[in-house]
Symmetry: C2
Subunit: 230 residues, 2 copies
Amino acid sequence: MLDISMPVEAALALPPNFAGLPFSPSFVGRRRLFSPRTTIYDQDETAVPIYRLVDGCVALTHSLRDGRRQILDIIGPGRLFGLVFHEDNHCGAQALTFSQVESLGRTVDQGILDQALVLMLNRAHSLATLLGRKTAMERVSSAVFDLAQQFKRASRNPQRGAPTFNLHLTRADLGDWLGLTIETVSRCLNQLKRDKVIDFSHPEIVRVLDTDRLQAMAAGGRGEVRKRRA
Amino acid sequence: MLDISMPVEAALALPPNFAGLPFSPSFVGRRRLFSPRTTIYDQDETAVPIYRLVDGCVALTHSLRDGRRQILDIIGPGRLFGLVFHEDNHCGAQALTFSQVESLGRTVDQGILDQALVLMLNRAHSLATLLGRKTAMERVSSAVFDLAQQFKRASRNPQRGAPTFNLHLTRADLGDWLGLTIETVSRCLNQLKRDKVIDFSHPEIVRVLDTDRLQAMAAGGRGEVRKRRA
DNA sequence: CGGGAGATTGAGCATTTTCAATCGGTGTGG
DNA sequence: CCACACCGATTGAAAATGCTCAATCTCCCG
């Protein structure tokens, strides 16, 4: 595997087509390539520009002083991230795979920025709902569903056919994202596999066998209405 | 108690001073008064304007189809909320007490809107961290601390003196916010009371006896570093 | 072939939930 | 004015989901 000794300037080939946000073509800033497990910016860093993820996978993380870590969002190709979103030094960004990132400085079209902000906020709210109210199985199902959306291979199988995607997160990452432990994540993933909802032989490459059932499990299985609250 | 049969137009006295966001004085739109437990807008509603909470307390909530509810934010006087934040019908807003709300339409200064959005996002991220990684005691401590900030009485006791505030949320609301059950919330609150960190006789009126300790408990008690993760 | 990192699996445990009973304040009707 | 009903809060005991600890497995790589 490549041995790139970290934050390296690189002018790479154009990215593959991705279903990302629209951009004014004028903003094609400097690109940088980050290796897996490297920090793009720190939780306490200031004056961070706006970035666009061209290719790869980035996690926004927040750590408590005692070391507990929460992943606040997983960013796929096309999405924006950076400091404007967290003036108050709030969370850091870390590449989970080789990630090509484009710096947009601070001169981003207002509308696009707002759009990205709103997406960020919606996802944060979804995550909160997941963390506050969903069971382990539902959380893992939600995560797989979300990642399948963001990272499904544009590759073969044009439409209806067991979409495969690369799970860029380790079990530990998934745990930090979903508020679970490594072991629980592993158990749930293997449960989904036994249930023939997903499949994987290599733990990184996941195939979704039954998208509908996956989505159903993500929302709360069979709709038994829960009690409480007038 | 008043019998106001809901959403009622009202021109009320000017609100007390509050430590809110700055506003261009030109935006003084229509005001409405909402009674406790009434809906300001629904989760699936569209074309909602931007609101400013003049006085009272509002909860942003998201409900799963099966009835589970997650409170995504608790809004205190001065803060903005409304649809721009959630184009994709996402969460509803509900008054928790008598709340005076000012509609700003959609003509809000961009900078102020962004500021509100970023605050919203930061709070959503903090909530996610709380829900994903904190214990019940830490969650409840965090909530009390946050509410003390947002709702501390401007009243007497100019500074250093056991700030008292009105806990506008019921135990059920707190549970829906913190991802806990009513019973756990109650137990934690009474534990804090036994520990002389807070005090209350009426379950709605809370006095903070030891702000420092409260804040410490909110962040994770005595800083024992937890394991895992390189 | 040996070492290491991540994943899986099992068993026991703990925090939090669930279930259930009781308390306390408040509003209503007799 | 008091009895009753109701709603929210509190408290205790039992149950459960998810965690901790520990062993083993599978790759990957040198």
